[in-house]
Symmetry: C2
Subunit: 875 residues, 2 copies
Amino acid sequence: MKQFVYQFKEVQKPDKNLFGGKGANLAEMTKLGMPVPQGFIITTEACTQYYNDGRKINDDILDQISKKLKELEAITGKKFGDVNNPLLVSVRSGARVSMPGMMDTILNLGLNDEAVEGLARLTNNPRFAYDSYRRFIQMFSDVVMQQEKSKYERILDEVKEKKGVEFDKDLSAEDLKEIVNLFKDLYKKSQGEDFPQDPKVQLIEAVKAVFRSWDNERANVYRRMHDIPYEWGTAVNVQSMVFGNMGDDCGTGVAFSRNPATGENVFYGEYLMNAQGEDVVAGIRTPLPIATLKEQNPDVYNQFVEIAKKLEKHNKDMQDMEFTIEKGKLYMLQTRNGKRTAKAALKIAVDLVKEGLITEKEAIMMIDPKQLDALLHPQFDDKALKNAKAIAEALPASPGAACGKICFTADRAKEMAQDGDKVVLVRLETSPEDIEGMAVSQGVLTARGGMTSHAAVVARGMGTACVAGCSALKFASDEKSFTLNGKVYKEGDLLSFDGSTGKIYDGLIKTEPAKISGEFATIMEWADKYRVLQVRTNADNPKDAENAFAFGAEGIGLCRTEHMFFEADRIPAVREMIVSSTVEERKRALDKLLPMQRKDFIGLYKAMKGRPVTIRFLDPPLHEFVPHEDQEIKDLAKEMGLSFETLKRTVEDLHEFNPMMGHRGLRLAVTYPEIAQMQTRAVIEAAIAVSKSENYNIIPEIMIPLTCDIKEFKYVRDIVAKEAEEVLKENNVKMTYKIGTMIEIPRAAVTADQIAQYAEFFSFGTNDLTQMTYGFSRDDAGKFLDVYYAKKIFESDPFARLDQNGVGRLVKMATDLGKSTRPDIKLGICGEHGGDPSSIEFCHKTGLNYVSCSPFRVPIARLAAAQANIKFPRN
Amino acid sequence: MKQFVYQFKEVQKPDKNLFGGKGANLAEMTKLGMPVPQGFIITTEACTQYYNDGRKINDDILDQISKKLKELEAITGKKFGDVNNPLLVSVRSGARVSMPGMMDTILNLGLNDEAVEGLARLTNNPRFAYDSYRRFIQMFSDVVMQQEKSKYERILDEVKEKKGVEFDKDLSAEDLKEIVNLFKDLYKKSQGEDFPQDPKVQLIEAVKAVFRSWDNERANVYRRMHDIPYEWGTAVNVQSMVFGNMGDDCGTGVAFSRNPATGENVFYGEYLMNAQGEDVVAGIRTPLPIATLKEQNPDVYNQFVEIAKKLEKHNKDMQDMEFTIEKGKLYMLQTRNGKRTAKAALKIAVDLVKEGLITEKEAIMMIDPKQLDALLHPQFDDKALKNAKAIAEALPASPGAACGKICFTADRAKEMAQDGDKVVLVRLETSPEDIEGMAVSQGVLTARGGMTSHAAVVARGMGTACVAGCSALKFASDEKSFTLNGKVYKEGDLLSFDGSTGKIYDGLIKTEPAKISGEFATIMEWADKYRVLQVRTNADNPKDAENAFAFGAEGIGLCRTEHMFFEADRIPAVREMIVSSTVEERKRALDKLLPMQRKDFIGLYKAMKGRPVTIRFLDPPLHEFVPHEDQEIKDLAKEMGLSFETLKRTVEDLHEFNPMMGHRGLRLAVTYPEIAQMQTRAVIEAAIAVSKSENYNIIPEIMIPLTCDIKEFKYVRDIVAKEAEEVLKENNVKMTYKIGTMIEIPRAAVTADQIAQYAEFFSFGTNDLTQMTYGFSRDDAGKFLDVYYAKKIFESDPFARLDQNGVGRLVKMATDLGKSTRPDIKLGICGEHGGDPSSIEFCHKTGLNYVSCSPFRVPIARLAAAQANIKFPRN
């Protein structure tokens, strides 16, 4: 028979998967001979069993709990429900990783009408006993039975008012007895039955509540955000109570072996004397800094410091500990690796290496790459932020702090920025035409749209702060002002917001730029030492490329040339090209674009200082470049000297039923080879120019998007190669260049052996590949994916985390097929997954050469790549 | 060194791939000792080489031609360009299969200013010699040099006018000499150089012209239509000339060993005395039936009949032969398996088996399955058609003949049909709401749209005749009448059209229904004997199901339930369901649909008489069921008792950027499980009812569309299974049922091992699978696929012919993966490919259990399945 329940002292190997983090650590502390109130653990497997049995605790497990409870009574010398010496326990959840949103703690379980009297006698403190009882009833009703919390609060308030006292502590034992009775009445009324007097019933109900809380909505949301599988389940810890609130020689608190905010190696924490855990949190009394304990009780303090050092050494990490002092004696209630800020994480990791406690590899493994994000964007100055109050909160769509003068259109943003103003762009929602305006803004705030709206996606790519979907923000009908939190904001007014928190502030809050130095630089250096996967960046302009270079990008993996097409000085020529009815007209328009594109590419080559630059040719459907409203079409027609009807017809001809699956990517180059020719010329001419002026050895990489077939690719490849050769000949230059393709269409993955005959490199465009492989478009899937999450069909967003099971199979297949015909083919990934740690691990394991991600994710990717290689070494 | 040129008599094995059909047969006749004017063949490999060399005939091949020409001079005792005894040749193309659109024939090549004199002397017939010369110049200018034909015609006309003669034959030798000189002047003016006097130059130019013609547009279009690979290339046949126009003991003609129209075993053909081939075609003189030859020249006739019998026996098929009689001697110029009508094909195949010439299997292999299509739809009565003249011609979008009273709306079509009228529906274009009206019509005619327009696709599926995209048809502004060929047509006027030819006729032409009997039935019987692949049908209503049953369908492979949702009596309840804001409201609407769906399914079960019926649950996005224009929304809102704003908002909420990749398929069932529950109930209740009333053993098959993930499928499967069990329990019935899925999303194919853990059958939805795998939608791809065809990137339409290289790899993968976890999984295909012979062969080879196609393709599929198993036997 499988063992589902273990005494702390019974545990041989502190397996977090089985016992949860909390339980494993309690068992371990017991083993190390530390003062831990004894108890037992109901394993995570019992939780899984509970769900498999249709949300029931089966008899076997119930029996095991009874048995362990008996043992615990023997260990403590107390008895459940005993009038003379009652055993009281705390019941706490404990998953593999700590998870907010789940049920946390029930204290004082085991109290009933008789045991409370016993406790009163035993402690000679009836007030304490009845206060414990009323707390227990209150917690049990709320957390276990999910009754309305406020009704119990109201009773407490009414009694206090009646008695004319302000604080709980001023209530007498008799008052608390009265409250206990009122609570029990309310419990009966709410629950339809008496408050359970049998401690075993209390215990089983509490255990069930912990199991249930694994599946509540907040827990599910958190799991999805942090890639925690539903299957894991939670363990339950049942621990005998010790009391920090039995007198002035008692106390309770939380301490860290190092400072979790800065990482400094100082004992850190706070505590309250004569208090139970919740009092520390409640904030009515101000806790004391842990240093004070040194004076109040040097013995306990020294014992504690010694334990902390020992635990840190044992667990090789900074510890976060809960403790209680009962009648002058220290008890450890919990220890775990402490949560810390990104800054602290880096300092602690580097310090631990210096102290000889861990290796560089261990230091690397210890840092969550995603956490670095916080250090990679401008931040509000801490002091300045302390005095600010948020006026609204919306979706934290792209991290970083922004402050500046409000403007409402991309054009105004550009004008004001040119005048030297720092601006924030506030829009109902953004569109591709706003990109330039977004780029010059400190941040973007939208009233509509979600985490995957245009504004959010583009801002994340740019590394620009964005707060999206602020529905509290109401635009005036002329969209020249808005109301927020009761105040009217006009152009030029000052506003600040934080894309990491979604908070919006009135006025100006000082910000500080991001940089990599100190411990951050050390960790990055180590990461580079241990990784084999290269990290490139997605960058469409020199500014992004320079940022990425500073963050350590080893090249550009994706330059989306279409972003250049949207710029104000180009869009007229782009549109002229689109409305052309002959090849000659089209070439004339393209001739205007050539020098601009060449200049773009020169800028990129210079910014990357000779590192590889992959330039992707025009990708989006042409209708993205033309207006769709009649009035706009009229204006444009006039501007272009066309009749409204002609332009309208062109726009209508460009309409597609499923633009995602329409005339785009290299399909444009097949229809209009002259576009690819112009882009080829711009790439090669730029490479020649920069090779000469900067003396770099540039090997241009031209990437053809959306390939689905070998002949299709070859057709475009041949056009590109022919033009490239011509340009080289004209310039009398020899230069190596590579022509490759995106793999973003399932058929390309499935026929990769054929395509690799001509393609010199593959770059997996996992955004589109995910869409095509799943058969749903990102724009439309939002409508039903929430239901999929709610019903646990999907546990994570396949656009954020690469679906290794499906899309990953295609990536693996394409990798193997590609290598089968071109063993030295270069393989990369340039979807948003390129910056996601779990996806990076997959890329590493699959044998890709590089990942490419947005500039602000480069350090994250460097760290994640190192972690992947430490976990799965590759040579 | 590779041999590129062969004398006829040199050929050992008549390999059509190398020599082309014409060449192989000429060589074979030579070998059989038949009277064939000798010559040589330039192989298809020489053509491929020509293209590989950049459209040049390389020196090696030129040398070989020279050598073979020398040999031919020795064989014939004539010399190229000889003044006394000139060798004249014909130059003809000859691909593996005969292919219209390519260059056909150059006659009399070798004539020049000297040789013509020799020919005149030799034949003692200067008129004949100069006529031959002028014909040659004319053909050479037109076919080889692609000069404007009409200019030469004009000279001929001018000389005839000047001489006052009406027919060519009335021109004298001197007149023809004058014409030759005028022709040569015109040639020089057009070409910038003299008409080539060197016969070798003439020959090489002619050979190049044949090679070039392999790549002309008409040939490319034909190849695409008939799945002929571009790589094949064409051979060139150079044959010494014999003359049917040297006097009254000369003649030329074409004969068939059996009647190609009826298949009757009688010698059939026609000929002209004193004529060259082109005269037979020109139609100025009326050719004589071949039987006449028996009287004119019994020896030649008997020799010919004997040769024909011998060739038929040798080639095991009916022969189509070209012959010439020169001075009383018979020459065979060509033989090939004759083209024939579908009816003749069946009769000949069955007769040949009866006569012991071929086996049943050979008979099966001999019939092109696609040809049967012509026999499976109503046909115009031959006699009636003879007197009719087409008033317009448009796209032959769905085969079959239609005639009836014109109506302009689906509603009127239904009303008139209910009144017993035969109607034809004439629309600008059709939409899903027209389906019922289309179903009751004899045929559909649209002014807009192509071969893949809604009207065309739906009509083909229904087997209803359709002519699409008739731009000559101009609707009046009120769409209550139209003008065509100068006549105004109103509702009730009579119109006929033929979906096989695209021709439209005024008034009523009698039609005859399709039936399988006689030789057709025999062939079908044999096909069933030799095939292992089952053939099911796609049918959404009892009428289609009954048709398919009569055509031999072994079950329904796909019933699209959404087609039922569009019907006029249901759409209100469907819309009520869509606008529901609560589960209860939705259930109430679904309750109204339940009895209707049940009735539908009862009808299908009855029509299929106990054979399996696969019912696919609701698939299209819901916005297809609501109107989109403001006025229509207003009308519907009033009808439904909703505010315009509410309904408008619902319609807007349903909008999708890429509907193909949106909220549809089982995604609907995940969001609204009650839809799947209602459909399950309808299926099971119907099965119970028909099992009882008809005493069939029905095993319902429920098919979940658009699966992309195992958990997603399991979620819906569980809902369906639970409801099914409930219905069975309510009815106290035991019944086996199967729940399976479409495989139409790449991810489903890639994870088929997982999905097969729960899915009891797979049906490959290759329409959507093709779209997703290629990453282009059928609706949008039309815009660029033409360019792909023109540039030879694609050679066939992947929606018509399964792309075995890409989509096929996914089908194979899903098959293998599916069998790995469920060895007895049932596998079928239900895309349009299910009726395409080459795709059926692929399905057979891949190991599927069945194909499902539209009712009118069932016999085609039965034959194709038999052919596949004869070619690739499977047990």
